[in-house]
Amino acid sequence: MQRNRWQFHLVIRALAYRRGRTFLLIAVLSMAASLATALGIVSLTMEKRVAEEIRKYGANLIIMPEKARISIGSGGLNFGEFSEATYLNQVKTEDAIIRSGIQLEHSLHLSGTLRRGAADILVEGVNFEVIRRLFPWWHIQGSWPNGAEAVIGSRLAARLGIKVGEELELLGVAGVVRPRVAGIVNTGGEEDDLLYLALPELQQVSGRSGQLTLVRLLVTAGGERLKTAMDRLGPLLSGAVVKEVRQVARTSEGLLAKVKLLMMLATVVVLISAGSSVAGTMSASILERGKEIGLMKAMGGGRLNILLLFCGEALLLGVTGGITGYLIGNVIALFIMQTVFAAPPGFISWLVWASMGVSLFLALAGSAGPLVSVFRLDPVRSLRGE
């Protein structure tokens, strides 16, 4: 048998012999590692989501009717219940934007539902030219629409089984449209669930001529100018509010900060207690195994050689604890994300290394003291059972 394999075999045998203690150590280590993992997953996922939310709006200001509600959580704007919905006046809004004299680009949006067969579809009216210019992340399969054509979100398309080139029949309050689907948009965001029509067409078919639900504004440069733009636009608009997109995301940022703090505290407490319990268990184990170590020394085992075997045990415990910790951490993260944020956690594979690091660090740091005593142990005394 090869030396390396033999060493591995020895370590496994030693751990298997003290099954209870091994499980205890692995449990402690994986608990610490799993909390660290869960903390990492939750904070990274949420940070990414907050950043994505800001990015997805594309615009950094939005104008919306005063009474429309914004809810955040499931990934973007939810346009509320349409019975309550209020609308912006297109002419007045555009006028206000021009009068404000601010250099900005804007995109007009009207949301509504149209009936296709037996189902309602969420439809948004936009100006495709503007969209194409302002939202470069729109990834269109097929082509950009001309005239009365439509663009459909990829998830919606998959759900309804709609393909490029198909003609849809959509029934609105004030008429019927039959747009051809020119392309399928895939942004990874809420756009994937909507059907896009040319704005005038939707306004007409849903009987909301000259009405809008949302205007997105792109003010180049940040900070100060954003503030000035808000201040100047605000008074010009009646029945509408201007909001910074960041505001929308701030709610979840605050919640995230609290959850993160809580988890951080929990992790620190668990790390400290896990560290000390590992140290305690390890030193008890080494004391108990004094005879065995003395015997190994008497047989001619070098100090480094014996140290290697015991380090091997700590390493194996650490790695196992790290991996199980990562798996459990994912479950914990799933639980936290679903109860607190009502969103799925991300899958972050590199955290397995972080988890392993935490676990290994604890295992090695916890056994550092006992390992030193292995190094020092006097074979004569330990064999006599002192």
């Binding site: 048998m1 090869q2 030396r3 033999w6 060493q7 075999h9 020895l10 045998r13 030693a14 298997a16 012999y17 005879k291 065995e292 015997l295 190994m296 020394k297 008497a298 047989m299 001619g300 085992g301 070098g302 100090r303 050689n305 074979p379 004569v380 064999l383």
Partner: protein, 224 residues
């Protein structure tokens, strides 16, 4: 074959105030079987530990097989133990989580590389061919001691030390173990130094020395 393997002059070992071994001059020839007798606390185990490289003398000169044990480093001592000495203990210390074969492979591993086939042969040699895969807990005292003997001689030591190897065994097992040792010695020609209470066991040796309170009080040659 009558060259000197072990030579000590004024060998002393103090544990704090207590003097476990008073200046001792001893010569052991290569291939000799030496028995050491004495009461508990007479310093016989201390002497054995010094000879086995498990302990260091407080004073005096000790040379085994041309190796001056006083100047060896910690790692040098470990090398001396694995290449030169085989030790059999009273409480047949075996590693509890390893099988008989694996216990022997452990000694091989510290010495060079583990070799399972050789370890099996060694166990068969001591009559334990049927107990290869048993853990120490599943073996009787005599069997355990035979595993210890196989382990002690697996690396072909020049010096075999026994610390009351039959202390825990019944009469029958004692006899088996002693016969085995005698046979092995005839084959492998190692030197045996054995500490014992038992006159019958001591009688297997070529020479017996008596220690009392750390001093050698009497020396008996076989047939005296």
């Amino acid at each position: 074959m009558m060259d000197v393997l072990i030579e000590t002059r004024g060998l002393t070992r103090n544990y704090g105030e207590i003097c476990a071994l008073k200046p001792l001059d001893l010569r052991v020839n290569n291939g000799e079987w030496l028995s050491i007798m004495g009461h508990s606390g007479s310093g016989k185990s201390t002497l054995l530990n010094l000879l086995g490289g498990l302990d260091r003398p407080s004073d005096g000169f000790i040379r085994v097989g041309g190796e001056d044990l006083r100047v060896l480093s910690e790692d040098g001592m470990a090398r001396y133990r694995r290449e030169f000495v085989g030790i059999i203990f009273q409480q047949h210390h075996l590693i509890p989580y390893l099988t008989a074969v694996e216990n022997i492979m452990m000694a091989q591993y510290f010495h060079s590389v583990p070799d399972e086939a050789e370890a099996r042969t060694a166990l068969e040699r001591v009559g334990l061919g049927h107990r290869l895969k048993n853990r120490p807990g599943e073996l009787s005292g005599g069997e355990q001691q035979r595993v210890c003997i196989a382990r002690a001689i697996i690396n072909s030591p020049r010096l075999l030390l026994g610390d009351e190897p039959t202390g825990n065994l019944d009469h029958g097992s004692t006899r088996v173990v002693m016969e085995l040792l005698s046979e092995l010695r005839a084959e492998e020609q190692f030197t045996i130094i054995m500490v014992t209470h038992n006159h019958e066991v001591a009688a297997w040796g070529d020479r017996t020395i008596y220690l009392d309170d750390g001093v050698m009080v009497r020396e008996e040659l076989k047939g005296d």
